[in-house]
């Protein structure tokens, strides 16, 4: 087994499949060459890493063969032997192979495992070092003439991946590079009571050492605190495609080169913290930066803070729910959350506090920042101790069940009264059973109709305002905190929505999954089906016929369902139970520092499925 992660090379392609940046690491490549020469035979020998033009054309070939940049992922009728989708595994959309054709020699060489990360208009490819037998094994898997591997077969992808930790490292490299080239490498948001949000590492650095020129730079755009899920898909309902989108931002190659030279000078990743690396590049060190006398600075804290001391925590719950309002299907509500922290403390102190808020019965998982130590299974008296880095960081992630009832419950019904008109009814209750100080800051419900054009709507809600766009109707129930503090709210909204006449879209010329076009007689079937019970079934039947296949990265075909998506933000105690008592936060060695804690609860995928229509479900195991 490889003991670490080494990168042989990396390439960035734009959306015209042109290599715009490449970097090869000779020291690692040299190791690969030696390994290949040891294991070479008639079918296997060492090949030079491809030049940019060779790589670009191999990438374009694969795209053509596999339907898209990512590929089919699952074996379909178009899958050819030797290609990734022949292996029949969704991960082959992320760990790909390329066949490099050397024109002059007329031979083809297989490059695997190439990590593919698509970010904005760019495709990032990273090639980690593996052992020749891994490559040979993969090559056999793509050429096996059977029906797709059985789970637990002798030579299988799972066992191969388990033996290759370098793939994980290479992915992290690819993601970090993706964030850097799109300028999205931002620190997690930490909210302070005094100001809406505080800056990042550079701000605390420049603030503490007084470099006005740098601190005057525009603040980075704060990323949403919670790692975003696929919620964007739910709102827009737009056709998601893995095709890179056009971006206007040119690639800053110098920034990238400088990052690579610090983070992985020889191809072995050493420290991928972009905020630290860029701080070191921009700020450098002065002779006044003396290391602490008694302790060693950890790698994650190259600079020490000087100035007024305080420590801030932001607890952020994100609620995901699938609400059915049906007897036979239970609603599902889960909370994922994180605690962000910013410790403006001098020296290298340890901070600790007890983890009392999270009820062990409801917590599904907890993970911590590497600077933290948590004694294993301390029962209810578990405490976390950490030596904080400078700047904002995510101290912990958690997943938990909701400690109270769902913040928004009720039902959504939509029924098509004619082909182009739907009658709907919402009956919701907000914050039922909730008490102050938990207050709801805003709450809105959106009905997306991505495949129909909304012409008009009728109806007045019992509370709030309604507006529509071409493809959605939005009901803003609560827009300011004052109107809704600390009491439960009943909200109803009956109405009708009218659509422009349905126009069948062209069938996809190739199915991206199963790969067969519809039966030619399928239209006939619909027209002749006089036994259709009502107009609703007819329109649904018609509409579902030209649904396109979604990507494997989507949970289901959103467009096949009618649903309403709830978005809200609440301030106050968390729903997961996660809380920190400022009095219980201790700092060692003891210093006088203010402790500020803020909590917010926002919606993730919070979906009300149309009670009268189809809805996706999953079986809940009876534990």
């Amino acid at each position: 087994m490889q003991s670490g992660c080494c990168i042989r090379g990396l390439w960035i392609l734009n959306n015209q499949d042109f290599v715009i940046f490449s970097r090869k690491f000779p020291v690692v490549e040299r190791r690969w060459r030696v390994a290949c020469e040891k294991e070479s035979d008639d079918n296997f020998k060492y090949h030079l890493l491809p030049y940019d033009s060779e790589l670009a054309s191999a990438f374009a070939d694969r795209k053509k063969r596999e339907g898209s940049a990512r590929g089919f992922g699952i074996r379909v009728s178009q899958s050819v032997k030797g290609s990734d989708s022949w292996v029949d595994d969704p991960i082959t959309r992320h760990v790909i192979s390329l066949h490099i054709n050397k024109e002059e020699k007329g031979e083809s060489n297989l490059l695997w495992p190439l990590i593919l990360h698509i970010k904005g208009p760019y495709s990032i490819l990273v090639l980690p070092l593996v052992e020749p037998h891994h490559l040979k094994s993969y090559s056999r898997m793509c050429n096996r003439s059977d029906c797709g591997s059985a789970v637990g077969a002798d030579e299988n992808l799972s066992s191969l991946l388990l033996d290759l930790p370098s793939i994980t490292g290479a992915f992290i490299v690819a993601h970090t590079i993706g964030e850097i080239i799109l300028g999205e490498a931002v620190e997690p948001e930490v909210v302070a009571a005094s100001s809406p949000s505080v800056g990042g590492l550079l701000d605390s650095l420049t603030g503490s050492i007084g470099i006005s020129g740098i601190s005057a730079r525009p603040k980075p755009v704060a990323a949403p605190v919670a790692a975003s899920t696929s919620s964007g898909t739910a709102v827009s309902g737009a056709v998601m495609s893995d095709a890179p989108k056009m971006g206007s931002r040119p690639l800053d190659k110098d920034v990238l080169r400088s990052f690579i030279s610090s983070a992985m000078p020889f191809g072995t990743p050493l420290d991928l913290s972009y905020s630290n690396i860029s701080a070191i590049k921009t700020t450098g060190f002065s002779s006044a930066d003396t290391p602490p006398a008694d302790r060693k600075q950890p790698a994650w804290k190259p600079y020490l803070y000087r100035g007024k001391q305080r420590i801030l925590f932001t607890i952020h719950d994100t609620v995901h729910a699938a609400m059915y309002d049906r007897d036979e299907i239970p609603d599902s509500i889960t909370i994922s959350g994180q605690v962000n922290c910013r410790a403006e403390l001098e020296g290298l102190p340890d901070v600790s506090f007890p983890l009392t808020g999270l009820d062990t019965a409801r917590v599904q998982s907890l993970t911590f920042h590497p600077c933290a130590q948590v004694p294993e299974h301390g029962g209810d008296k578990q405490a976390i101790t950490f030596s904080p880095p400078l700047g904002n960081f995510v101290l912990m992630h958690y997943q938990a069940l909701c400690s109270v009832g769902p913040p928004i419950k009720g039902f959504y019904q939509l029924s098509m009264v004619s082909e182009n008109e739907g009658a709907f009814l919402f009956k919701l209750s907000l914050m039922e059973g909730y008490k102050t100080p938990l207050t709801i800051e805003f709450c809105a419900v959106t009905m997306p109709f991505p495949r129909r054009r909304v012409v008009s709507f009728d109806g007045t809600p019992s509370i709030g305002t309604v507006s529509n766009t071409d493809h959605s109707v939005e009901w803003k129930i609560i827009t300011n905190t004052r109107s809704a503090s600390g009491k439960s709210i009943e909200a109803t909204f009956p109405g009708t929505v009218r659509f422009a006449p349905w126009q069948a879209q062209r069938m996809p010329s190739f199915g991206s999954a199963i790969g067969s076009v519809a039966d030619e007689d399928s239209d006939l079937e619909t027209e002749s089906s006089g036994s259709m019970v009502n107009v609703e079934d007819q329109i649904m039947e018609k509409m579902s016929k030209d649904l396109q296949a979604v990507d494997l990265e989507d949970p289901f075909c959103w467009q096949a369902y009618n649903y309403a998506k709830v978005s809200f933000k609440m301030i106050g105690p968390s729903l997961s139970g996660m809380s920190i008592d400022p009095k219980s936060v201790s700092i060692f060695p003891a210093v006088k520092a203010t402790v500020e804690i803020s909590t917010q609860v926002t919606s993730g995928d919070y979906i009300l499925w149309n009670t009268l229509g189809k809805c996706p479900v999953a079986a809940t195991p009876e534990a």
Partner: protein
């Protein structure tokens, strides 16, 4: 043309041409002159922009991959240039750092291809330059460059094992002194050196004690055994180095050893990175972890459930579980049982991406295949009835998550995932390697097969193309050598009407 100095614009074209099509494209620019020499002259020009110089250095690194190894004279010129940049007060640290890195990379590729150069002065000079740089612990301004120099030395040590073995005591003392954030880089260098000493046991080494250096740090000389090329025949001589001392150094540096992973993790907040390494340790000491298999599997399972991770890590997590099970299960009935006890945790959830659903269905199919032998299921958690019922429950429950395939158009991804699962459940009970013709009977008599028959209500509504897809998979299969296709189709009621 030789010796012609290229302008910055010309260099940019050279580099672009090279990246696109390799060294063959270079001749028209260099006119046959040595690329390295041309680069070195440009690197020393004060009027060239720093960014271009950085590009030149990476270009040189790339070129070292497919060009023949550099002669000793070029390497010496490269070192001279490096030395002048390092000593120059006006050159920025970014250039100094990159110059150190690129020179090391070029040296490693050139020297490994030409053993004779190892004894020459360039390698000695290079190491000596690095040692001079790192020999200033806690110095303020150049701390990052010291870290880079440590990494360069480490790479040299990895390429030429035991190169630094004789100066290990000095590295140990530097490690103890350094307190800035680059102390980790010193620890990494020391640990690599010690690892090589322990692994390769150089006989000619003159380390007698870790705390008392017998030779000075500078001037440095390449150990005789490397020059003699006896590296692979090292014989351990116990007297020459004190085991106890080494153990003490390793213990003191333990935190440092683990920092290699920690540094990476610190940057990422992604514990996913730690898992595969942990699994690596686990497999090496499989016996020591006896009885903890389930805890390991549960932890990996959590990874796949944590939405803050990128989809890829969640997919990898599921693959690791599958690979892990395959590794531990063997013929051990108790382990099979504990895996089957976990099966409820593999149920797909509604918001799982289809890729995750597909792999969780694989896990369920795997569980189903584990109880192929009669009697396996007795006493299992959640198995009140016989194994057939259990298998069918797993299959039906799992499939609910993609049940929309019943009414979605045949090209939908849900359909693809569902039929992939059919296939996995079906062949799960009939391993490809099974050469016995009795597998026909086994397959058709299996409960899963029966369930597929029952599932006919929707399977029959699926277009022929999909059925052909599923059948097509089986046609090429090893299984089908023993299973008559007609037999399968007839049993399924799929024969074309």
């Amino acid at each position: 043309m030789a010796g012609k100095l290229l302008s910055p614009t010309e260099w940019e074209s050279v580099i672009d041409d090279y990246n696109l099509g390799g060294a063959a494209n270079l001749h028209r620019w260099t006119g046959g002159a040595s690329v390295v020499d041309l680069c070195i002259s440009s690197l020393l020009r004060k009027d060239f922009p720093v960014q271009l110089k950085l590009n030149l250095l990476t270009f040189l690194e790339h070129d070292s991959l497919d060009d023949s190894p550099l002669p000793s004279s070029s390497l010496s010129r490269l070192i001279d240039a490096l030395r002048s940049v390092i000593q120059s007060p006006s050159d920025p640290f970014a250039l100094k750092d990159q110059f150190l890195i690129s020179t090391t990379a070029i040296f490693i590729t050139s020297l490994l291809d030409n053993d004779e150069l190892i004894s020459g002065s360039p390698l000695r000079d290079l190491v000596e330059l690095f040692l001079t740089i790192i020999n200033r612990p806690n110095h303020g301004l150049d701390r990052h460059t010291r870290g880079v120099a440590c990494e360069c030395l480490r790479q040299l040590e990895l390429a030429f094992p035991c190169l630094l073995s004789e100066i290990t005591p000095h590295l140990w003392s530097l490690c103890q002194s350094e307190r800035t954030h680059v102390s980790q880089w010193y620890v990494l260098l020391l640990s690599t050196t010690i690892l090589n000493v322990v692994k390769l046991k150089p006989s000619g080494t003159s380390i007698s004690s870790m705390s008392n250096a017998t030779i000075p740090l500078i001037p440095f000389s390449v150990p005789q055994f490397l020059i003699d090329g006896v590296g692979s025949d090292f014989v351990w001589k116990e007297k020459e180095i004190c085991y106890k001392e080494l153990r003490r150094v390793v213990a003191a540096g333990t935190s440092g050893f683990f920092d290699e992973g920690a540094v990476l993790m610190a940057a990422l907040h992604v514990r996913a990175i730690a898992l595969p390494y942990f699994l690596g340790i686990y497999f090496k000491f499989l016996d020591s972890f006896q009885g903890q298999e389930l805890e390991v599997a549960s932890r990996i399972m959590l990874l796949s459930k944590e939405p803050q991770h990128h989809l890829v890590f969640r997919l990898l997590g599921l693959h690791w579980i599958l690979g892990f099970f395959a590794l531990i299960v063997g013929e051990d009935e108790a382990k099979k049982r504990s895996i089957l006890d976990m099966s409820l945790r593999f149920y797909p959830t509604i918001f799982d991406p289809l890729a995750i659903k597909a792999l969780k269905l694989d896990l369920l199919a795997y569980c189903s295949s584990l109880i192929c032998n009669p009697g396996d299921a007795s006493g299992l958690k959640g198995v009140e009835a016989d194994k057939g019922v259990y298998q069918v429950t797993l299959f039906k429950d799992g499939l609910v998550s993609v049940s929309a395939f019943k009414w979605l158009p045949p090209w939908s991804t849900e359909t693809a995932v569902a039929f992939r699962a059919f296939h996995k459940f079906l062949i799960g009970g009939s391993p490809h390697s099974d050469a016995s013709s009795s597998s026909v009977g086994t397959l058709i008599e299996s409960d899963i097969f029966y369930t597929l028959q029952v599932a006919n209500e929707f399977v029959c509504t699926a277009p022929d193309a999909i059925l052909y897809g599923l059948v097509g998979r089986c046609v090429a299969s090893e299984v089908s050598r023993h299973v008559s296709l007609e037999e399968v189709l007839a049993a399924m009621g799929w024969g074309r009407q």
